[in-house]
């Protein structure tokens, strides 16, 4: 009886209420809370698998960064994630949902490789810049299809960008099995290697990290300026948050759709180019471990903000490395990395709640 009363009193103690304005502290704390919760839940998960959670977490999150090669791989994998997420954030702010960055990445890799292998600039210093332009155009062109269909045909861009991802993967498969297959490649489904002029230089021949990381750096700065300092970026965000207000102010949603999709397509295409002209060196049926999808998580973890995206990209890249690391040393399946990605996003979205709402103590009644 008393216990029941106590419980009732306890449930009466807190009430959820909207904050008068979003909390800035919570905006910063939410990603940390989410990461912390992910680590706690994954420790429990490892315990149930009969593994030592400390050892597993160490293998997952720390060990990959203890070697120079690990650090190189960390930045190498973070780079495309950050690049793509920067592009996506521009669209997401305007409520334009490009879910098919993976497909645009593949198309960018294809067009860039096409230029690298088949244009008559093979010995020229112009080859690499031309490939970059081709990659950007390839990604943009693939994203222009959903932009056109959404703008002119009123067609949902989420579904179109996704379907085009499946189609892009099939185009890639057809090219590497058919017309672009390396005649000297022992029948492996892959293209010839790109010429040296079509490859980014590495910093040290022992490691794979290459100079394309500077491109990502520039894109981060450009994204920051566009979203935080430009009037157009501001208008797009307003259009995303309050469509009717934006229309009233004379800003068309059509511009948001085109800019949102083309910017993200360009970034994803460039990322695809950087993969073939960097660690890969050629096309094969599998050129991305889901960077285009993981970048969506990066964009959200970074709160659609360029600086946040850099941190989010480093975190997700670490998840990829950690997945490989536990696979190698503990024999766990690499799918664990995907579970962590999803879990992280779940917790992040849940902790975002604390930015706009708070639990308030309410006075207990006197009886």
């Amino acid at each position: 009886m008393i216990l029941a009363q106590q419980q009732r009193a306890l449930t009466m103690l807190f009430k959820i209420e909207a904050r008068p304005e979003p909390s800035r502290q919570m905006a910063l704390a939410a990603p940390l809370i989410a990461t912390g919760l992910t680590i706690v839940i994954s420790s429990i998960f490892f315990l149930t698998l009969g593994l030592n959670p400390f050892l597993t977490l160490y293998t997952f999150f720390v060990e990959p960064l203890t070697t120079k090669n690990g650090l190189s791989e960390w930045l190498l994998k973070a780079s495309p994630l950050i690049l793509i997420a920067c592009g996506l954030s521009i669209g997401f702010r305007a409520n334009v949902w490009n879910i098919g960055a993976e497909g645009q990445l593949i198309m960018g890799a294809i067009t860039a490789t096409g230029v690298g292998l088949f244009l008559p600039f093979q010995e020229s210093g112009l080859l690499l810049p031309l490939m970059a332009v081709a990659g950007v155009i390839g990604g943009m062109a693939w994203a222009a299809i959903p932009a056109f269909l959404r703008d002119r045909m009123n067609t949902n861009e989420i579904l179109v960008t996704l379907m085009l991802t499946y189609i892009a993967a099939l185009v890639l498969s057809w090219l590497v099995h058919g017309p672009w297959r390396d005649p000297e490649g022992f029948n492996f489904p892959q293209t010839a290697l790109l010429p040296n002029q079509g490859m980014f230089g590495v910093f040290d021949y022992a490691y794979r990290l290459n100079t394309s990381i500077f491109i990502t750096g520039v894109v981060v700065v450009l994204t920051w300026v566009f979203t935080e300092r430009s009037f157009l970026g501001y208008k797009m965000s307003v259009g995303g948050a309050a469509p009717s207000a934006a229309r009233f102010a004379g800003f068309s949603s059509s511009a948001s759709i085109w800019i949102g999709l083309l910017a993200s397509g360009a970034a994803a295409g460039l990322a695809g180019m950087m993969e073939v002209a960097g660690p890969l060196g050629q096309l094969s049926p599998q050129i991305s471990p889901g960077y285009g999808f993981a970048a969506i998580i990066v964009a959200f973890i970074g709160r659609l903000n360029a600086i946040g995206i850099v941190l989010g990209g480093l975190l997700l890249s670490l998840l990829y490395l950690g997945g490989e690391s536990v696979q190698l040393s503990l024999g766990l399946p690499s799918s664990i990395a995907l579970i962590f990605q999803g879990m992280l996003l779940f917790f992040l979205l849940a902790s975002n709640f604390l930015i706009n709402f708070r639990f308030r103590k309410i006075a207990m009644r006197a009886h």
């Binding site: 269909l149 009123n154 067609t155 949902n156 379907m163 057809w174 990395a337 995907l338 779940f346 979205l349």
Partner: protein, 306 residues
């Protein structure tokens, strides 16, 4: 004639997982909630179904486990979207990614071990009729169940008071709340129904259609189911029509590959995805028809006032 019959029956079978998942999502969207995570829930259903089967459970229970797993995963989305009022697009995507990871983890070790598929059942008398029997009365129980569910969903939405309530909540959660309906509670139920149906659709793939566990075996069917709901303009009848169209597309593509047509197999494989885009474009042209049954509050978070 034999070819026609076999294409017809194969189409019905290929459409079944789409019908199940899309009918579930239809109810979810009718309540005003957009769950993009169907692909993840289907994968979870497929993996847990196979897991239960290899754990020695009878097939019926394996299917039930798949449904429960789909429901449980949809609750993750529900808590985020309904209780924490997060962006529903993001919550659904998180579920899609999470489901791919969880299913790959659960299904590891079962790869390429064939499952003893659920067998077609004969209906005494009817199945023996030439052609007709083969075309209509020789399917596994889940095919019949998908038609039962079609009837049930149509009846529920348009003939029952509960269905009316659900639609009212999707149209205007604020007024429904003011009248005294529990908007959040009913949306939870709708989300769980969608999760169960997606889990069932996934189990159909791994226990009947393929029948074995392959990582990412849904191959975009969850997203196509989502497209079907748009295609249907939120009406159950057209969900089924659309599913047959895509089922037929899949079967024609497989037939084409089997016949060794002189087109690259990738062109044929891309047909269902291409068809999805074309159909979406065509259907989106008729804005009035699209608006008629569209749940106005779709994907908008709801917080009861007062």
């Amino acid at each position: 004639m034999d070819l026609f019959v076999s294409i017809f029956t194969a189409t019905i079978i290929a459409a079944t997982p789409l019908i199940l998942a899309a009918l579930g999502e239809l109810i979810v969207e009718k309540s005003g909630v957009l769950n993009l995570g169907i692909e993840g829930m289907m994968l979870i259903g497929a993996a847990f179904g196979v897991w239960a089967h290899f754990a020695g459970l009878p097939m019926f229970l394996a299917v039930v486990i798949a449904v429960l797993a789909g429901m449980a995963s949809s609750l993750l989305f529900g808590v985020l979207a309904l209780t924490f009022m997060t962006n529903q697009y993001a919550a659904g995507l998180a579920l899609a990614i999470f489901g791919a990871g969880v299913s790959a983890f659960i299904g590891r070790g079962f790869g390429s071990t064939p499952v003893e598929a659920i067998q077609p059942i004969d209906i005494p008398g009817l199945s023996n009729i030439p052609v007709i029997g083969e075309m209509f009365f020789h399917y596994d129980p889940l095919v019949y169940f998908s038609f039962v569910m079609f009837g049930a969903v149509s009846w529920f939405l348009y003939q029952t008071k509960a269905g009316l309530t659900l639609r009212a909540i999707g149209e205007s959660p604020d007024s429904a709340h003011a009248i005294g309906f529990h908007v959040i509670r009913i949306r939870y139920l709708a989300v769980m129904f969608g999760g169960g149906m997606a889990g069932l659709g996934g189990a159909y793939l791994s226990l009947v259609y393929t029948p074995l566990w392959v990582e990412n075996m849904t191959a975009g069917r969850g997203w196509i189911a989502l497209a079907l709901v748009v295609f249907s303009a939120w009406r159950p009848k057209r969900v089924v029509l659309g599913a047959w169209l895509f089922g037929g597309m899949t079967i024609l593509q497989l037939q084409g590959q089997a016949m060794g047509l002189a087109i690259p197999s990738e062109v044929l494989s891309s047909l269902p995805y291409l068809a999805t885009i074309i159909v979406l474009v065509l259907i989106s042209q008729n804005r009035q028809a699209m608006a008629l049954d569209f749940p106005v509050s779709l994907a908008q978070p709801f917080r009861p006032k007062g």
